[in-house]
Symmetry: none
Amino acid sequence: MTADPETPLRADARRNRDQILAAAREVFATQGPEVPMEEIARTAGVGIGTLYRRFPDRDSLIRAVARASFAQVLDDTRSAATEEPTAWDALVRLVNRSHQLQASVHLSLTSPRAREVLHGDPEIEESRDELLAEFARIVEAAKAEGTMRPDVDAGDVVVLTAMVLHRPPGALATAVLAFDRAVAIVLDGLRARPGGTPAGSSLPGRPITVDDLGASALRGGADTAAGRRPTR
Amino acid sequence: MTADPETPLRADARRNRDQILAAAREVFATQGPEVPMEEIARTAGVGIGTLYRRFPDRDSLIRAVARASFAQVLDDTRSAATEEPTAWDALVRLVNRSHQLQASVHLSLTSPRAREVLHGDPEIEESRDELLAEFARIVEAAKAEGTMRPDVDAGDVVVLTAMVLHRPPGALATAVLAFDRAVAIVLDGLRARPGGTPAGSSLPGRPITVDDLGASALRGGADTAAGRRPTR
Amino acid sequence: MTADPETPLRADARRNRDQILAAAREVFATQGPEVPMEEIARTAGVGIGTLYRRFPDRDSLIRAVARASFAQVLDDTRSAATEEPTAWDALVRLVNRSHQLQASVHLSLTSPRAREVLHGDPEIEESRDELLAEFARIVEAAKAEGTMRPDVDAGDVVVLTAMVLHRPPGALATAVLAFDRAVAIVLDGLRARPGGTPAGSSLPGRPITVDDLGASALRGGADTAAGRRPTR
Amino acid sequence: MTADPETPLRADARRNRDQILAAAREVFATQGPEVPMEEIARTAGVGIGTLYRRFPDRDSLIRAVARASFAQVLDDTRSAATEEPTAWDALVRLVNRSHQLQASVHLSLTSPRAREVLHGDPEIEESRDELLAEFARIVEAAKAEGTMRPDVDAGDVVVLTAMVLHRPPGALATAVLAFDRAVAIVLDGLRARPGGTPAGSSLPGRPITVDDLGASALRGGADTAAGRRPTR
DNA sequence: TATGAATGAGGTTTCATTCAT
DNA sequence: GATGAATGAAACCTCATTCAT
């Protein structure tokens, strides 16, 4: 009996846990979040029992993967904001880098099942709120420095970013290029115009703030306001 | 036994088939393509046996739904090209309308399972090729009329369009607005600039043609060349 | 679609349901209520899927078996009360017959699992209450006719009856005899004495009524007040 | 390696063993003999590994619990025979006390699994035989002293005692009272009548001796000759 | 020695598909 | 032709037992 539930986990157990998480991230990415648990276990190189010891059911595994991803994205966002000379550069870096590091987010957004599960997880909600705040800071700064068109707000940018992150895994050379170009085009759409917004390019409605994304945000704003689904 | 397999289907049978198709589209859209067949039958108001009589297995149902969707998109694209005064208007109409009419396409793109199934369906390949051709025509025309930036090609537009169509179902008012704005911003990114492409906005690589999407196209170019498939 | 959930069940379905119930009764009786579902299905001669179609999980099967048993016991009790010349004869018949017909009750009382599940099933509670009422009538009549000792009440008799019904299945000839004798001895203990209760034979406490068994009765009074167990 | 397997066990090891045994008795009593081993370990406050070091598998634990219980009952029986003034008093004390001390016996009798396991354990068989012998002595004595009806034999008494010990765990005040009364009534049934057995009260068959319980005894006579065993 | 991690067999349950009514 | 019952393969998950720390 080692007692308290927060015991840091024996070395080997820790390793296994990490392998499972990595395997799940990968397998979820390629096959969706309904893959047989056994496939995940096999990929991780552990027995099915071990998997279940660490994550008592599929949902808890999905949650763990999503948490790790979100934490990563948040990290990246902060690094970008800190390290890049301008807010615009930070944004560019984010939408370009994230596609490698956090394609995993995309999974969190992809399946009805995953959305269901993630909805309301407190740790995730927290990461998300921090992420939105960070984004808002960057967008404000970019508008202030005159690199971003003034008629958008952080919510708009988040939606576009989510759209862009929605990129599928696995990719041919051409596809990667195509994708990078698409991102560049989207960024062009966001950039401030020398002479102000030209006629005919005014955006519908009003700027979307992160608060508009509100209770839904990435999960629901960009990827749409889920509207709770039946739990089965 | 009534006759050859091409008999146009009795009226009630026809009705059943359509109901099933409609139900499947809806249920796939909200719950993903792995929903229990019985759920689809129930939604359609028919017995499970009837469903199976019309569509001998899940894949064939997925295919039928996808075919109908593709046909629709193609139709829309042609109408837009014909009816709108400029190529740019046609494009704008497409990316805006399609999001209502053919959000269903998105499903075809969403799940690994669906992609797997659709891959190589001749009827779908054909629709897709026609669609790409149509797109290419529109894009060429837009560049010729000076409304679209000259450094893109149809493949780029297809990728962006697919990105934009990837919108999830269910939506709060704000989310819809956010989405329309995002589309507008993307279009701004595609539009020709009065003084030519400004410094710093040059796109990476070279224009992507529909041929680059080649063997993959919507299924693989936009949504990427699937790469690893489940082994099962 | 046949609609309404009360459709009387197709003939073959009905037959299957009955076979499953019979098989479950038997298998529960010999192996306890934790036997593999597959064993039950096999005994019933149906596929495991069929079993699950009729009884969505083990608990619901346990409940169904218990309901049928209780209904039977109630029936027997009423017949006995009606058909036997004296209340005492009715009682004798009950404790003797029931051991053949309703040994099944005993199962309902035997395992913690079963008790857990049955606790609070409305249909069962109802049968039980009617059963208790019937018992009370018989006991009153027996006391009135002078065949039962006056210092007991129906609750006492119920407890003894439950005790006596607790007989295990399967039995060697000797064991059966031993059992019948035990029942006879218990009955002797209940019978009125010619000269009144002899000194030294007065019972502790006060007569137990069916109301004392109250919310618990057979399930909890005789077989003891369960005291809700963890549900796991 | 410390020494031969009979080394009396280090103090802490001893303590662990006892805790496990106590925990097992309790948990078996409330949840049946199929509880997860980990539950037992947890209740005992030891690791699962420790449990398995002491008792190499579940059956061996069941056996250990049963042996301890049987030994206790035997002890009690001897004490009662020695300390009580009459054989009848000894019997009364047994059936009343045992219900507190050895309700555990009942568990040994309760589940098909437990019976299976205990069947043929030499130590248990031995305790049982001694127990039966002791019982026989008491019953003979009681008949000789004129307190017990002459038409019964020790086997009858054993069967009734087992019946009476079959009391479930957990109990409301009323239930306890009800139970004590039931025991009293059963004893009344066993007691000699002043004027001999009255007409209509003659018992069926012939007196059951402990030898009749023979190969089955408590395990099979009272709780009946198991008959069909699981095939597995 | 005590512990708790890892394992995998086995039981439960779901659901795609077939088939009798 | 429509229906819903039956089937069994396959996924989920639990837990007895073994083994590394």
